[in-house]
Amino acid sequence: MPADIERMLRESLEARAQDVEPDAETWNRVQSRIRRQRTFRLALAGVSATAAVLVAIVVVPGLIDRPDVVFPGPAAPTDPDPVPGPADGCTSPADVAAVYSSQGDLWKACVGGGAHLLYGSSDIDENPAVSPDGIHVLFTSWRDSAPVIAHVYLSTGASTVLGGGELPAFAPDGRVAWVQQADGDRAFIVGGQLFSEPEFEIPVDGRVRRLAWDTVDDHLLYETGEGAVWVARPESGELLRIDDPERTYSSPAVAPDGTIAVIAVDEGGSYELGYLDRAVLAGAEPGYRPVVDLPMLDDFSEPFLAPAGYVWAEQVGDMEHRWVPRDELAWLVGSPGWVSLLREDGERVGLAMEAEMLAPAMNPAAVLGEREGDEPLYLEPQAVPHNVEVTRQRIHAAARAGDFGGLHALMVEEFSWSFGGNLDRDEAIAYLRDNPELLDVIAGLLELPYGVVDPVEPEYFVWPWVFTDPEANWPELRDRLVAAVGEQQVGDYEEHGEYLGWRVGIDRDGVWRYFIAGD
C-alpha cells in the first residue's frame, strides 16, 4: 500500500500537467468561434428585428396587458402553459402531501396515494414550498436562465408567476420569504405576506443555497455553501453565523416542533444528520448532537434535508409506497437521484417515487396533525367541475397578485364587465386598472361558496352563492360577504331580498364569462 497517497497524487498530477504544453493555435480557434457567434447573433438580430416589426403591427393591442406584478422583483410573463392534469385525485382524509420536483416538473405524493404530476412545463421548476394551510405551493421556475417565483394551487395545479426570485419558504403564519440574488456574491432575503408587497429585505453575503423558516419563532435559517448556517431575523435584519470548528453544516431544516436539523460533514468527510440546540438562535455556542449517520454513496453529494413530520412510508409493491401517519418525527433526506425517509432511531426507507425526487417539501399543517380551529380554509377546493375549479384558482391568484395580464388571459374575449352590454375584455382590464380595489373584490368573492345558474346554456357557476341561493348560509356567512363586497351591497341585498352586487361567473367549461354588478 502506498505510504503517502497524497504525496503520490501531487507528484502524479504535477508530472502529467507538465506533459501538456499549450497549443498556440488555440487562441486562433477562440477568436474564430467568437467571430462566428457574433455573425450568428447579428443575423439573428436581423431576423428578430423583422419579427419585432411584425409583432408590433399584429399584436400590439395585446401588449397593453403585460403583467403588472405586485409581488416584488422584475415583472415576469404570466405562465402561458396549460394546466397539467389531472392533478386532483391525490387527496386523502389527512391531506398529507409532499411536493417535490423531478426532472424539472413538480409532483405531489399523498398518504394513501401514489405520485401525481402537479405542474409541468418546459421550464425547470424546483424548490417547492407548501403553505401551512396546505393550499399554496411556491416554487422556483427558471425562465430564460433567470429564476422567478411561481405559485400553484396544490389541489388543481392552477398556476401563475409572481415575480423574480428563488428558494421560497413559508413561515408557520403563512408569510413567505425568498431569495433575490444580486450580482456578485450578494443576495437579499425578502419576504412578507403572500400576494403582497414585501415587508422586509435582508442583505446577505454569498449565494444563498437553502432557506428555511423557523416553525417556532421569527427566524430564517440559510446556508451559502461555506459550511456555516446563518440565522436572519426579519424584524431587525440581524444576521448570526453558526459554525463549528469540527464539522461543516449544510441544508438547515426545521421540523414542525422546532427541531433544527442540519446535514453535517466531519473532518473525515462523513455525512450525518444532526440537531442544533435551539439556543443557537439566541447566539449561544452551537450545541450539536449527531443523530444518524448517512450513507457514503458515490452519488451522495449536495444533500438536501426537509422535515417530513409525522409520517412514514409503507411499502406496498416493489416500487410503491403508501404514506401513513406515525408518531415519530421523520426527515426526508437525500441527494439528486436518491431520497429516503429517515427517523431519529436510524430506521430508513428508500422512497421509490415516479422518478428522482428533489428538494421535497411537506405540508407543515398536515404533518402537525389535525388543523386547528373551524375557520374556513382559504380557497379550499370547491365541488365544481375540475375545469371550473382550475379557472377559479387562476383568477384568484392573478387577482391577489395584481396580475392584469393574467386576468386578461383568463377572460373570454367578449367578457362582460358592466351590466348592460359591455362585452370586451380589453375594456374590462382598463376598468380594473382604473379601479384596482376591485381585484380584492374578485379574490374575496372566489373564496366564498358558489351557486349554479341553471338551466342556462352553458351552465354557469357564480360567486357568491347568494345570487342563486339567497337564504342559504345566512346570516352565518354575512361577515365574509361584507368583507368581500362591502357593507353597502350586503345592505341592499338584505333590504330587497335579492343579491345584485358584484359577482363572478365561470361556465362549465372553465371559461371566465363575467365580473359584473347590477341587473
Binding site: 500500500m1 502506498p2 497517497i5 497524497e6 503520490m8 497524487l9 501531487r10 502524479s12 498530477l13 504535477e14 508530472a15 502529467r16 500537467a17 506533459d19 501538456v20 504544453e21 499549450p22 497549443d23 488555440t26 487562441w27 480557434r29 477562440v30 477568436q31 468561434r33 467568437i34 467571430r35 457567434q37 457574433r38 450580482d183 456578485g184 443555497r209 446556508e223 455553501g225 461555506e226 459550511g227 461543516t248 453544516y249 449544510s250 446535514i263 453535517a264 460533514v265 473532518e267 473525515g268 468527510g269 462523513s270 455525512y271 457514503m296 458515490d298 452519488d299 451522495f300 453529494s301 449536495e302
Partner: protein, 170 residues
C-alpha cells in the same frame, strides 16, 4: 468614398488576449487532468474561453482566473458526461481506442495514480484535482465547483479512499 474600418470583436478587446495568454496554460492543464485527453482538453478550453469572453466583454468578471477555472471545470465535466457515452460506443465498435491516442496520453496511462484518478466519479476527481494540483482551499474549490464545502470535503475524502483501494489492489 470613405473607407469604413471594421474591427473584429476580438481586435476590439486586446485586453482579453492578455487574459488568455495569462491563463491558457493553467486552464489547459486543469482540463487535461480532469479529462485525461489532451485534444479534448484543448477543445474544452477553447469553448470555455469563448464563454468567458462573453461575460468578460460585459464587464462581469472581477477575478478572471477564478472565473476561467470554473468555466473550464464546467465545460470539461459537461463534455465528460457526453464522452462517457461516446467512449463506450467507440469501445464497442473498435474493441479498444487506445491506438489512436497521443504519446502523452499513453504515457499517462502508465501512471497508476493518474489512471485511477480518471476512474473516479466526476465530482471526486474534480475536487481532488483542484485541491492537489491547484492547491485551492476547500472554500475556493467549493466556489469553483459550485458546491458546498461539505461536499468538497466529502468528495476529497472518498476520492482519496478509493485511490488508496485501487493502489492496494494494483
Amino acid at each position: 468614398m470613405n473607407a469604413i474600418a471594421l474591427r473584429s470583436p476580438v481586435a476590439m478587446s486586446a485586453d482579453f488576449a492578455d487574459v488568455f495568454a495569462a491563463h491558457h496554460a493553467e486552464a489547459l492543464r486543469i482540463a487535461y487532468l480532469l479529462s485525461g485527453d489532451r485534444q479534448r482538453a484543448e477543445d474544452a478550453v477553447s469553448e470555455a474561453f469563448v464563454k468567458v469572453y462573453r461575460r468578460w466583454r460585459s464587464g462581469g468578471v472581477d477575478n478572471p482566473r477564478a472565473y476561467i477555472r470554473r468555466a473550464v471545470v464546467n465545460e470539461v465535466n459537461s463534455r465528460f458526461r457526453r464522452l462517457a457515452l461516446e467512449r463506450r460506443e467507440a469501445a464497442k465498435r473498435r474493441g479498444d481506442d487506445r491506438g489512436q491516442r497521443s504519446t502523452e496520453d499513453q504515457a499517462a496511462d502508465q501512471d497508476e495514480v493518474f489512471r485511477a484518478l480518471q476512474r473516479l466519479p466526476e465530482r471526486q476527481r474534480t475536487a481532488i484535482v483542484l485541491r492537489y494540483y491547484n492547491d485551492l482551499s476547500e472554500a475556493e474549490t467549493a466556489e469553483v465547483m459550485g458546491v458546498s464545502t461539505g461536499t468538497v470535503k466529502s468528495s476529497v475524502s472518498r476520492g482519496l479512499e478509493r485511490l488508496r483501494q485501487v493502489m492496494e489492489v494494483s
